[in-house]
């Protein structure tokens, strides 16, 4: 079995991932709901993960996939901490809109 990239092309993966990554960025900027923002960040991370796998195939090298594991671990840890912070904000503020987080400024 040949390299699957011969049929798809690494560029297409790059473009897909860039677009996905940018959608993630867009989501972070676009939404005020903290949960959705978290989700957008997850989209960003996933875009990168996908690219890792693509590059891994491109190089015929497993390290990229190994790195995805770490990336997942990080994502999980971040989400856990982030949600913990979010919960405590929700407890204090009763809202999770990041627009309400403007006490610190100037």
């Amino acid at each position: 079995m040949g390299n699957i990239l011969n049929q798809i092309g690494i560029e297409n993966y790059i473009f897909l991932c860039v677009v996905l990554f940018c959608i993630g960025i867009f989501g972070v900027l676009y939404r005020r709901n903290a949960i959705i923002v978290f989700m957008s960040i997850e989209i960003m991370l996933n875009a990168v993960n996908l690219l890792f796998v693509a590059f891994s195939t491109y190089h015929q090298d497993a390290q990229g996939q190994v790195f995805v594991f770490f990336s997942m671990a990080v994502a999980a840890a971040e989400v856990a901490v982030g949600l913990a912070i979010l919960v405590s904000i929700f407890r204090n503020l009763g809202s999770i809109s990041i627009d309400n987080l403007k006490n610190l400024k100037g």
Binding site: V48, F52, V81, I85, L93, L104, K105
Partner: protein, 463 residues
């Protein structure tokens, strides 16, 4: 490597202490432990080895910076005692997180593989998110944590993307391999893009303009000790890592091969100037001391970035600058901690008349501010001197002149605080002489001055 293992072990011991109900012993034990680690780390000085498939590459650079991180952590842990007096059940967690954070930092400066780098920076960041939000009933702290978290993960995403592109270009995460490939003529553009993205992510961590917006808000909202940690340890780790990233991967020669060097240098110059200027100008009108120090930190980040312009020779200067800055920061924050212990904010009014009520601490704060402002005999002056020297040598006279103008502006706000201490009437009684705070303040200030008197002690380590 041993350092990293020892630090990790120390962190776990901290957790065990809580389980064993030896709360009182945590801080002394940790400090002793860290001193031991420091000694261990020093024993590794001079050796250039790599461990475990080059996951950790110990070099002079990594050991010296690790030592600096450890020293800073010792101070921060010592300050914890007083700061978490009212949270006895959480102290082990706090201390342990700090220790792990240190582990992350050490991993970052001694990484030999991007996996370690990424994990290190994530440990550091996650610890900071937690510490920033750690006053769970305080909305400001929550907000700071949230802001930092959101922006931090965003930056992590960027860094990850950068690493991914580097991997795409090189097919490896190992810095030795990458640095070898990076000199080859045929290089996919993914590598420089990836590097730039990683660099931008690190610029976010060091709070350089225009990626600095989080810093003032987060510094202000976080508990004071966390702010101290962020403005000293975290910033130093970030800038050291950035330096290492660029130098260890032969990024500069590789850019030179592709004729991108000039533009890259321009960008560094612009960011450096912007950071200094924005940081200093914004700091002028701040009333919250933590916020002011945040902006001051931004401007210092601008100064530190100047080292990237002469990457092959400026490691010593960077070490010196960061040591000077961090020691002054620790001294300043220990006074801030003392003064604002029972205040609900850190406004400058709290410092009124400190010169009369507590001359020693006022003197120390003055000293640290003078050091940051770059007044001689404090190490901050020499730091700037060496930096300017280095930068002029690299041919960036204009940048130095801007830096000089910025130094002048910075005096404006540093002296605002000094003025408040000496020329205003005290508005509150302060009692108690917390031993550890005094100790930290005095020792860090002394170290600062010693560095000023004998700059070669530090400067020559990396030359």
């Amino acid at each position: 490597m041993n350092t990293l293992i020892a630090i990790t072990g120390l962190g776990i011991f901290c957790l065990l202490f809580e389980i064993l109900n030896l709360r009182k012993g945590i801080i002394p034990f940790t400090i002793l432990g860290l001193l031991g680690v420091l000694a261990l780390n020093f024993s590794e000085f001079g050796s250039t080895e790599s461990y475990y498939n080059n996951m950790i590459a110990v070099s002079k650079f990594s050991t010296t910076f690790s030592s600096l991180f450890i020293v800073l952590t010792i101070f921060l842990v010592a300050l914890s005692h007083n700061f978490y007096e009212n949270h006895p059940t959480k102290i082990s967690d706090f201390v342990a997180i700090k220790i792990f954070l240190l582990a992350g930092g050490v991993a970052m400066v001694s990484f030999g593989n991007f996996a370690m780098f990424f994990l290190g920076i994530e440990i550091l960041s996650i610890s900071l998110y937690v510490l920033a939000a750690s006053e769970r009933l305080n909305l400001k702290s929550n907000e700071a944590g949230m802001k930092y978290f959101l922006m931090g993960s965003f930056a992590s995403g960027i860094i990850l993307f950068g690493i991914c592109l580097i991997y795409g270009a090189m097919g490896s995460f190992d810095i030795v391999e990458i640095s070898e490939y990076s000199l080859s003529a045929e290089l996919p553009i993914w590598f420089p893009i990836g590097m730039i993205l990683v660099v931008i992510g690190m610029l976010f961590k060091v709070a350089a303009v225009p990626f600095h917006f989080w810093a003032p808000d987060v510094y202000e909202g976080s508990p004071a000790l966390t702010t101290a940690l962020m403005s000293t340890l975290a910033k130093v780790v970030a800038i050291a890592t950035l330096y290492k990233l660029i130098s260890a991967l032969n990024f500069i020669p590789s850019l030179e091969n592709q004729d991108h060097l000039a533009t890259f240098e321009n960008i560094i110059v612009i960011i450096s100037i912007a950071s200094m200027t924005v940081g200093n100008i914004m700091a002028l009108r701040q009333v919250n001391v933590k916020r002011m120090l945040a902006f001051s930190g931004i401007s210092h980040a601008g100064f530190m970035l100047m080292t990237l312009l002469s990457i092959s020779t400026s490691a010593g200067v960077l070490l010196y600058y960061t040591s000077a800055y961090a020691l002054a920061g620790i001294a300043a924050f220990s006074v801030v901690l003392y003064v604002c212990k029972n205040q609900d904010n850190e406004d400058i009014t709290n410092f009124h008349g400190l010169g009369k009520t507590n001359p020693l601490l006022a003197a120390i704060l003055t000293g640290s501010l003078l050091s940051m402002a770059g007044i001689p005999i404090f190490s901050g002056f020499f730091a700037k001197l060496f930096l300017f020297n280095q930068t002029i040598e690299a041919g960036f006279l204009i940048l130095v002149i801007v830096a000089v103008i910025n130094s002048i502006i910075s005096v404006g706000y540093y002296f605002k605080l000094i003025l408040a201490m000496y020329s205003k009437e005290p508005n509150q009684e302060r009692t108690g002489k917390p031993f550890l705070i005094y100790g930290v303040a005095i020792i860090s200030m002394t170290l600062n001055i010693v560095l000023g008197l004998f700059p070669s002690l530090v400067l020559d380590l990396l030359n």
